[in-house]
Each structure stands twice: as C-alpha cells, then as structure tokens.
Symmetry: D2
C-alpha cells in the first residue's frame, strides 16, 4: 500500500493531534513495508519491579496502529478506535524500550483492522500482541 | 462473594503497588455487590476536543477489574492481566469523570474473568465496555 | 428500543436466511426488554463427555446477537459480524440446552455492539460470555 | 519448537477426541515451522450466497490452534479454549476451501496463545484472523 504521510510529516502531525503524548513515542520506521513505533520507557510507564505497565503497552499498540492507518488514508481523514483485543504474554524486560510492529490486515472504506506485535528492544519473543479496529468516517464534503 | 479487602484498606494498597497512578483513580464503591472506580479526568487523559482518550479508558477498566479481583482474593495473592477485549462505543462527555462498574464473571483458582462498563458521570449509556482475564499464580508456600 | 420484527415473524425469517441451522436454535423470548435464544443441544454440538462444544456456543452467541440486531433494524437491512470476543468460563452441564441472553449496547448507523451471556438451562452461572460487533451497511437506494 | 505428535498420529487422534467433526477438517501441513488446517467446505458450512459462515470459520480457527498446541504438548495433556477474539474481514470465496495457518505466540506451563490467519484456497488476503488462548491444566499424577 502506498504511503500518503511519511515519517517526516507524521511526527509533527502526531504532536499536533495528540499533544498529551508528546515525547513518549517515536517513529522508528515508516515505509510501504513496515511501521515500527518506539515507546520511550520512563517512570510513568512502569510498575513496581521496573516492568512496563499494561496501559502503557495498550497506548503503544494504539498509537502504532493509528499511525499505520493514517499513513495510508492521509491526514484529511479520521480514524477512531472502536475495538481492541490485547494479550499480555511475557513480562517486558526492565530498562528496555518497547517496540511495536503494525501490520494492516484490512483497509476498507469504513473499517481498518491492524495487527500489532510488541517486543522489548533487544528481545525476540513478543511481550504482547493486539488487534485493533478503526472506524474511518466518511469524509466531509467540501 | 465475600470481600477480603474493603475500600478503606484498598486505597492505600493501590497507592503502594501502583504509585505511578496515585491520584488518578479512586474507589467510589466497593462492597459484596459492586465495585465502582472513578477516573479523575485531568489534562493528561484528554484528546483534542476534550474527550477522554482510549488508553485512559483502558487504564480505568484495568484498575477496576484488578481491584474487583484483589478485593476477593486478598493481598497476599497476585493477579496479572493476560487478556483484554475492549469496545469503544461512544465519545465520553467533555468535562465529566468516567465511572467504571466491574462484575466478576468467574473467579477460579487460576483465572478470573471480569466485565467492566464505563459511563461518563451523569450519563446513562456506556461509553465503553471491556472484558479482562487475570492469571492468579499459585501462592508461594510459606 | 422498539421491535420491528417480533418472534412470530423472526422464526421463519431465520429459516429463510440461514436454512443450514434450521431446527438447531429457537427464540425463547423476544420483546423490547430481552432476547433469549435456545440451542437445542444434539449430538452434533457435543464433545466427548457430553459437553457442548466451543463452536456450538459461538454459533449460539452469533445467532442471538444477530436476531437482537435484526429485530431492531428490520428485515430490509443487513448485519454482518465483523468481530467477536468470547470467553469460555465453565463447562456446560451435560444433557441441558444452552440459553443465550443478548443485550444491545450500541445500535449506531454503521455499527452495532451486542453483549451475550450463555447459561446451561437450569443453571445460574454463565458458561460463556461474548461481545459481537456487526457492520450494518447503508441501505441500497430503491 | 519440537513436534511431539506429527500429522500421521494427529489425524486419528482428532477423530478419536472429536468424532463429531470427522471429515470436516484435515491437516494440510504439520511440522516444526507451520501448521495449516483445511476446512473441507460443504453445504453445512455455507450461508446463502455460497459463502462460508462465521461459525464454520470459528470452528476452523479453534481446531487449527488446538492441533498446533497439542502437537507440542503431547497427547497426555489437555488444552481447553478459554478465550477467542476473531475478526471477519472479507467474504470467503464461494466454492473454495478455507485454509488456516496457526502460529504459537506463547506456550507456557498453564496458558498457550495462538494466532490464526484464514484464507480462501487460491486467495492471498486473509478472510479472518483469530487469537485463541488455551488453558493447559496440570497433568494428573500417575
């Protein structure tokens, strides 16, 4: 699928639409083949013991899937999360960022479905997986 | 089901095990019939337009289900989220806290399943629903 | 919500659109307050030991949610399952039918979300729960 | 991961434990790298229009994930489906079998998590995806 918004344009777009998460996430890779987002793990994302919390992993999966969809549909569109199923499978490594790879399984006119896998940086086995559905409302007529 | 940890004991327990979320959530009601958690909506939970973000609703559902389970199994136990499916159904009301009601559907020896409904305070229709599964590891022998 | 198709009209409608499942399911109750479907448990729905299989419970949840949605939107509409999350929590009782109660959580113009609880007839604790999302395509213009 | 039960042994094992589904499914490939199951589409799996029904796709995903897990844990073990999230993304092709590829994401002592993708034979885009969790009860002591 062609990319309508590349990494250089996507980063300031994210800062604009989601100012609350500025600095927490960055785009590691964004091209026609792959989207990889990084969670810059900080104290606010941790549980006692130094492991990344479930809500922080959910937030990473959500922003990764959102960026994957928006990069294809373009910034004049909207994409609203309607459903997520997420499995937490292993404890993330302490002291490591978490990386999310998003794969678009369906990009229809009204719905997009995206699979996301999360790994601790330097690790190989997934710490979590998620599938998210986005509703893409019809564009407003000019 | 009997309550092993009531609201008075649960609040400091939450502060102790999840210091990162201190002040964001509070227990509205906790007894044998119901558990209701409140998200004190602040700027960090918002999306542009003043609506509560998906990750903030996920975090609320997770802490509500966790508190419901821990109130029954007691604080010497552990409960780890293994799965969540969540549906975002309506835009939360701007300027209103979000309340989560948790219902324990199963409390087995190894797994607990909890349903959660989220409403904006003062509203009637659910803004989101979630089902969460917790793994309850065997207690360590003394 | 008002009912557009009542039980008397729904049963032959189901036979017409889903001839493959004729005789397996019946409508126990359908009115403005509730929808309850029955799975007439037969040999084809069983696992060794006499317990109802997961796919049979999924099929019951799907048809119950479908009937709940169609009863509200009317038979000129379509409703296509796009997502289901289901938790199997207890072994169904041997030799008992399974009853499914459906509750519509959202009925939007494009999407409907339905919660379903399954119990063995005569039992009280849920054997399974499911949440299903239906896409409701725009009606074709005449 | 090593295979404890290969295809030659798995087929009669499935017939033995699931006699109700005999003839509906077959193992297309089972080795250390992959598990592919086939749904032999017959009239009982169809919806009007000739498309494969949701419950038939759920049953295929469930048996594929079950076979993937059992091939690793061996036939003296048990594996019980506790959760499934499934997305139906495209209409299956009429007149084509459906193939399911299962990937084990986690195989722990108590829980296994399996991703499954379904394609119509001859097609490339997934018609559905599912993630299933299996509980693996402790082995009974001899």
């Amino acid at each position: 699928m062609d990319i309508k918004i590349g990494a250089a344009e996507m980063a300031p777009f994210l800062d604009e639409v989601f100012p609350q998460i500025r600095g927490q996430f960055s785009i590691q890779r964004l091209d026609a083949e792959a989207l990889i987002m990084r969670l810059h793990v900080a104290d606010q994302h941790l549980r006692p013991g130094g492991t990344v919390s479930g809500p922080a992993m959910f937030a990473l999966a959500d922003v990764a899937a959102y960026v994957a969809v928006m990069s294809r549909v373009g910034r004049e569109a909207l994409a609203v999360t309607t459903n997520c199923s997420i499995d937490f499978m292993r404890k993330p490594a302490a002291g490591a960022d978490v990386l999310a790879s998003a794969e678009i399984l369906k990009l229809g006119r009204a719905l997009a479905v995206v699979d996301v896998r999360l790994v601790s940086e330097g690790g190989t086995e997934p710490v979590a997986r998620a599938t998210l559905t986005y509703s893409i409302p019809p564009k407003r007529q000019p």
